[in-house]
Amino acid sequence: MNVKVIVRGKAKGAVLCAQKPVNFLGGIDKKTGLVRDEKHDLFGKFIGNKILVFPNGVGSSVGAYTIYSLKYNQSAPLAIVCLKADITTASGCAISDIPLVVAEKKDYESLKNGQEILVDAIEGKIL
């Protein structure tokens, strides 16, 4: 599928899909990479070393630092696929060299948990 490139890079890994938007500050533990928001559908899951798929980011502007901290603590996703890229996620990924792409709704919805994909955020493709 073709995707829009927000932050360039390439990564290969297993998909982890979130139904709800992600609030990085507060919602994710910046050291362990575990989802700590009890109301979130990924509660308790580790988001590191996966291709994280979620509709969009919400919440505090400082969430961008959480993404950077995850990278620093080796708990960051390999790449992120969004339905709508927001400023917090885009800037957090840019500074942390995490490839970020936006997929069309139909394509986005076709991504399944556990599926192995290659995010090519240079050519703008997911294979």
């Binding site: 829009k4 490139v5 927000i6 932050v7 500050l25 507060g26 910046k30 050291k31 928001d37 969009n56 919400v58 919440g59 505090s60 502007s61 400082v62 969430g63 961008a64 630092y65 959480t66 950077y68 901290s69 990278k71 620093y72 603590n73 890229a85 927001d86 400023i87 917090t88 996620t89 885009a90 800037s91 957090g92 990924c93 840019a94 500074i95 970020l100 936006v102």
Partner: protein, 384 residues
């Protein structure tokens, strides 16, 4: 997004690492928001100052960045973790204090004004109407767009930082006049119109709205209620501005049922061990009003009152500090309710506050319960 030749070469690293990084951020958010170009901004207000939120990764990043980076425009900063004058009183661990001081020093070294305030719109002079700024603090971004007649997107800590380093931001979303008109109206159908109601309304509207929303049916909305509205709105979603009065398009009612639903989510206790006032920080107007309300009364429990350092001299010269101390209150500068390390769940089960934003972060970040009460109620019920 189109870049000028100059911008392209900065992105390619021809003007150094720092500018290359800043332009990478600008390009990413430009692509994310479908911007057509970069435009100049005159003022950046940064979040990411509290060690509690940015941690070791953030502290090291800023320390490294400040080795050669310099801010190109007026740059002000959000609250940090404690009041510099009262560090010892709060038994903060030594590492926290050292790392927080390092963060402070890095920002100052790069040229930031050490304002440590989430109400830049109250303590700094406002540029002329329509000026583009980059505000990362959400209540400040919404207030700037809605009340101060400035233009900003609801920036992230890094996007505002990139603006500070370059003097630029992508031209998109609320920076473009065409996108500022709301297509959803929230109709207020509730009383009483105190700061809690407006905070809950903001929280509700922030969840429902896109980047801009109209609010109709407001009753007795004054500047201080607007602060609550902005703070609530900034907490729950991605909405970056509101207008007053009904607009064309979809309408949603904020009625008693909705208000109760939001309040139930945030008001998790029927009482509290301490009181915190702030988030956003209190300005001189609120301090003045609080002093008047407390005449002859004193707090039954510890009450932290969070203010920007910019008004410390005035608070002292007006004798307000003496009055608040007499009433058992404690003024804290440089920091705020929101994400404060001074409220610790080891010692405190629940907090009384009149801030909807504060309630959200006290629960989700500090892990304590919250009892939401208006300032009027707090003075009635929590003082003697």
């Amino acid at each position: 997004m189109e870049l000028t030749k100059e911008e392209e070469s900065a992105l390619d690293g021809k003007h150094g690492e720092t500018l290359a990084l800043a332009y990478r951020i600008l390009v990413a958010i430009g692509e994310a928001t479908n911007a057509d170009k970069l435009i100049p901004v005159e003022w950046a207000h940064l979040s990411g100052v509290n060690y509690n939120t940015i941690g070791d990764a953030g502290e090291e990043f800023l320390s490294h960045l400040s080795k050669d980076a310099k801010f190109r425009i007026k740059t002000t900063v959000n609250p940090m973790g404690f009041d510099s004058d009262n560090v010892s009183k709060f038994h903060l661990d030594e590492e926290f204090v050292t790392k927080q001081q390092s963060i402070r020093n890095s920002y100052v070294k790069m040229g930031a004004t050490p304002s440590f305030s989430c109400i830049p719109y109250e303590i700094f002079e406002l540029p002329k109407n329509g000026t583009q700024v980059s505000f990362a603090e959400s209540n400040a971004a919404i207030y700037a767009n809605s009340i101060s007649a400035l233009k900003t997107n609801k920036e992230s800590a890094f996007s505002a930082l990139a603006s500070a380093l370059t003097g630029k931001s992508p031209h998109s979303d609320l920076r473009d006049e065409e996108n500022r008109k709301p297509n959803l109206t929230i109709r207020m159908k509730t009383e009483p119109a105190d700061e809690i109601t407006y905070g809950l309304l903001g929280y509700f509207a922030g969840k429902e709205a896109g980047s801009s929303v109209a609010i109709s049916g407001t009753k007795g909305l004054d500047r201080r209620s607007c602060k609550s509205l902005c703070a609530g709105m900034g907490t729950s979603g991605s909405c970056g501005m509101f207008t007053l009065g009904e607009e064309e398009g979809e309408k949603i009612d904020f009625d008693y049922k909705e208000m109760a639903r939001v309040k139930d989510e945030l008001n998790t206790s029927e009482s509290g061990d301490i009181i915190t006032l702030g988030s956003p920080q209190l300005g001189l107007e609120e301090i003045s009003d609080l002093v008047a309300k407390l005449k002859g009364r004193s707090f039954r429990k510890q009450c932290m009152i969070f203010c920007p350092r910019a008004i410390q001299g005035q608070i002292r010269n007006l004798g307000y500090d003496k009055e608040l101390t007499r009433a058992g209150g404690e003024i804290l500068y440089d920091c705020c309710t929101c994400l404060t390390p001074l409220v610790d769940k080891e010692n405190i089960d629940a907090v009384v506050t009149n801030s909807v934003k504060g309630a959200y972060y006290l629960k989700t970040s500090n892990g304590v319960d919250v009892n939401l009460k208006s300032l009027h109620q707090i003075v009635e019920e929590e003082t003697k």
